[in-house]
């Protein structure tokens, strides 16, 4: 289990300067989540939200200055015992340019005691990647496949993927995802994946969290997340339902629009909770529409002003 408790992280301004927790760029602000074993966890967030920073903290690349990150009860920074359970794939592949695929396998085998050449051979065969060609000559997609092969071969309990499917064509994306899921299910491993692609997270993950400007907005099972929001359409002859009326009825309105006598709003809450409150408005037509994860993402961020300045 990965437990992240009240983690904050501040980066100094570029150049010289002392890091002050109240100064600089606050990449993470009191983030707490727990990732149970055996799940596939998705990190969602806007650009620069702090997803990669959190992933780097989880694999010990950053020291935890405030709060704690524990892997199976152990601190992760500078702790080989905890780190041996994690394989981290970051969002770039340039660092592997010097290696051949076989060279990369040997490199990681030197560090990961449980590296399985059996898995490696099988996956290389399956993906038909050139073994002795320098990875600088690989396409971006091939590099991604190569790193995923190595990650799976390291046989770790936790696999952390930061934008790992970028550069893959849709067919290969699907294939790689299936490959990872099969491997992880076999060994009851946990995967944490960060992505901007909400559809992908929706398909792949059973849990997700949304982070924005370093602050966690929600973290839960995907089904629970989806059931926590809804879009309502209310038509009333005597005049459109106003946001104040919705608020007075105890609904948390995230977005509101009106066209004639028809009001449309995105509200927080379960379907039963919301529909139970709709009767009070005396509408001729009232409808509840469940939201997709993508819509939740957009409405949550819009509610926090993200992207609104671009749209307006």
């Amino acid at each position: 289990m990965i437990e992240i408790n009240n983690v904050s992280m501040v980066f100094a301004k570029k150049g010289l300067g002392k890091v002050d927790i109240n100064d600089g760029f606050k990449a993470l602000d009191n983030v707490s989540i727990s990732i149970p074993d055996g799940c596939i966890y998705g990190f969602l967030g806007s650009n620069g939200a702090g997803k990669s920073t959190l992933l780097r903290m989880m694999c010990g690349v950053y020291r935890t200055e405030q709060g704690s990150v524990k892997i199976d009860g152990e601190d992760v920074f500078d702790n080989p015992s905890a780190k041996s359970k994690i394989f981290f794939v970051n969002d770039e592949t340039v660092q592997y340019a010097k290696f051949t695929l076989d060279g990369l396998a040997k490199y990681y085998a030197s560090y990961y005691e449980d590296f399985s050449f059996g898995i490696y051979e099988r996956l290389v065969k399956q993906l038909q990647l050139p073994r002795n060609k320098r990875m600088s000559e690989f396409s971006k997609g091939m590099k991604r496949q190569a790193v995923v092969i190595i990650g799976l071969s390291c046989n770790t309990k936790y696999l952390l993927l930061d934008e790992a499917f970028d550069g893959l064509d849709p067919a290969m994306r699907r294939f790689i995802k299936q490959l990872i899921i099969n491997e992880l299910i076999d060994r009851q491993a946990t995967m944490v994946v960060s992505s901007h692609n909400i559809v992908e997270i929706n398909e792949l993950c059973d849990r997700a969290m949304l982070i924005h400007q370093g602050q966690m907005i929600f973290a839960d099972e995907i089904d629970n997340i989806k059931s926590g929001f809804g879009k309502i359409q209310l038509a009333r002859k005597s005049g459109a339902v106003t946001p104040e009326e919705l608020k007075n009825a105890g609904l948390e309105v995230m977005q509101y629009s009106v066209m004639g006598s028809v009001a449309q709003a995105v509200v927080r809450g379960s379907e039963t909770d919301i529909t139970g409150k709709l009767g009070a408005f005396g509408c001729e037509i009232s409808e509840f529409i469940p939201l997709t994860l993508e819509e939740i993402f957009i409405y949550e961020l819009e509610a926090r002003g993200y992207g609104s300045n671009i749209i307006n």
């Binding site: 570029k14 010289l16 994690i86 660092q95 030197s110």
Partner: protein, 512 residues
């Protein structure tokens, strides 16, 4: 739980982990190891075959082999040492490249193990090829001498052994400096150019400081009676200057310092996480120290070339430019004010230090200046520039020369006392600040007295380096004199000195 304890047990064997990680690094950088091996291999072969076989008097049996420095051999070996610069930058890329840092720091290995594995990989990539080449070279040398000529190479082949020690010393120095810079900087550019700046500082500053400051302020040229500058350059490349006398000592001390610096770098490496990766400078203390030392080096360099004003200007420009490069955040007027203030503080402290050094005669070094006491037929040449003629931008004044030949000790003492009196009084009349900014000397007002004295008997086999006062070596009878003194004085003092000297009937004016 069981998995955790078994994992912990594995990590107790850290040496095994270090070796495995070092071998993994070696595989990544094997090309650099091969390049190093080729360069040193060629260098050693050039040294070995740049030899001569000397025949004994009967002309039949070869009995001695001499090995000489091969210019191309030195060139290739220097190239081999220079590869270490790129090797360290590459091996420690995790300190300035976020992507490589992600890979490196996420690996299941402690930061200390990771550092030592990198050190070991440097040994594999840089030191091991040198050792192989040295052993191979010496093996070939023995075969060459023993099998072909039937004897072991003579003592003159020391040069090969010295090279065997010298180049690893140079390599370790480069590695230590680059390692320190890489650990204190967070960007590849800063790691690279700070390494070069720091290498320059360490090699130039002691030389400048001793040669042109303490000795000059004490009134003695460095070669006269002072310890050689090399004695202060134990760390760096100055050991190459003294290839015979204290070579091994310099190499050993240099290696020890380099290793100590590497361990300091290690402490910084272990303390860092990925947070400062990408920032130009990770350690502000390091940055400030390098800037101050850099300024002092520029000041010293221009001080010795009589262009102190230019020194302040060049250092100021370099100081500001480096700050601009390093400060990748927003620059505003306040930034310039801050940098300017720090620079002025550095320059003021330096000026104050120079004044103190001048006033104390080079921290009392002046007391070591020899007196002319005993000699065996002394000859004096005393000269100064007289300002009769000068043209814009080009001095064309007269040189006035006084001479005295074959003097007795008493006569020599008289000459010396007059010279010393005017040199001391004249020098004291010059404002210490004027001494610092020698560029402002005016030929109408000032001149430089040069006093040269030597005895009829000279000591031909002076030890190298001349680390003792070479003016009073005892010969069979009496002493030999070798006295040199250059002092700037007001021109009126020089003229008065000449007048007083010419009153002595054994001093005459020499006209070329």
């Amino acid at each position: 739980m069981a998995q955790t304890s078994s994992t912990n047990a594995r990590y107790k064997m850290s040496f095994k982990k270090i070796v495995r990680a070092a071998l993994a690094e070696l595989r990544v950088h094997k090309k650099l190891a091969i390049i190093t091996f080729v360069l040193y291999g060629v260098a050693m072969l050039l040294f070995i075959f740049n030899s001569e076989v000397w025949m004994s008097y009967d002309g039949e049996i070869p009995d001695l082999m001499h090995f000489y420095l091969s210019g191309w051999g030195v060139f290739f070996a220097v190239c081999g040492a220079a590869v270490s610069y790129f090797t360290v930058l590459n091996v420690f890329r995790d300190m300035n490249n976020q992507q490589i840092c992600d890979v490196s720091m996420a690996l299941p290995i402690k930061s200390s193990e990771r550092f030592f594995s990198k050190l070991l990989s440097l040994v594999f990539i840089q030191i091991l090829p040198q050792i192989v080449c040295v052993l191979g070279g010496n093996g070939i040398k023995i075969l060459y001498g023993k099998l072909i000529f039937g004897f072991l190479p003579g003592e003159a082949d020391d040069i090969l052994l010295q090279l065997s020690v010298g180049f690893p010393t140079g390599t370790l120095f480069i590695m230590a400096i680059v390692m320190l810079c890489v650990c204190c900087c967070g960007a590849p550019a800063e790691s690279s150019y700070f390494s070069i700046i720091l290498m320059g500082i360490i090699n130039v500053l002691p030389l400048c400081f001793i040669t042109y400051l303490i000795s000059n302020c004490a009134g003695m040229p460095y070669y006269f009676g002072n310890p050689e500058p090399i004695d202060y350059g134990y760390w760096g490349f100055l050991f190459l200057v003294d290839f015979y006398d204290k070579f091994v000592l310099h190499c050993v001390v240099g290696c020890v310092i380099s290793i100590a610096v590497m361990f300091v770098s290690g402490l910084i490496y272990m303390k860092r996480d990925a947070k400062t990766v990408g920032n130009p400078i990770a350690s502000r203390t390091f940055f400030e120290i390098v800037l101050v030392l850099g300024c002092v080096t520029v000041f010293m360099f221009f001080l010795m070339t009589d262009g102190m004003i230019w020194g302040f200007l060049v250092a100021a420009v370099a100081y500001i430019i480096i700050n601009i490069i390093v400060c990748r955040a927003k620059i505003n007027v306040l930034s310039f004010v801050k940098w300017g203030a720090k620079y002025l503080a550095t320059a003021a402290t330096f000026t104050l230090a120079i004044v103190i050094i001048i006033e104390t005669g080079g921290f009392g070094y002046i007391n070591l200046r020899p007196d002319a006491e005993l000699l065996d037929g002394a000859n004096f040449m005393i000269g100064y520039y007289d300002d009769d003629y000068h043209m814009p931008n080009e001095y064309t004044g007269n040189t006035r020369n006084l001479r005295a030949d074959n003097l007795t000790p008493e006569q020599a003492d008289k000459v010396m006392s007059i010279c010393k009196k005017y040199m001391a009084e004249g020098s004291a009349k010059i404002n210490p600040l004027l001494k610092i900014f020698r560029v402002s000397y005016n030929y109408d007002d000032y001149t430089r007295i040069q006093v040269r004295a030597d005895s009829n008997k000279t000591y031909d086999e002076r030890p190298f380096p001349r680390s003792q006062f070479n003016w009073n070596y005892k010969l069979d009878s009496g002493y030999c004199l070798d006295y040199r003194q250059d002092v700037s004085v007001p021109i009126t003092d020089a003229r008065e000195m000449a007048q007083e000297l010419l009153k002595l009937d054994f001093v005459y004016e020499y006209v070329d």
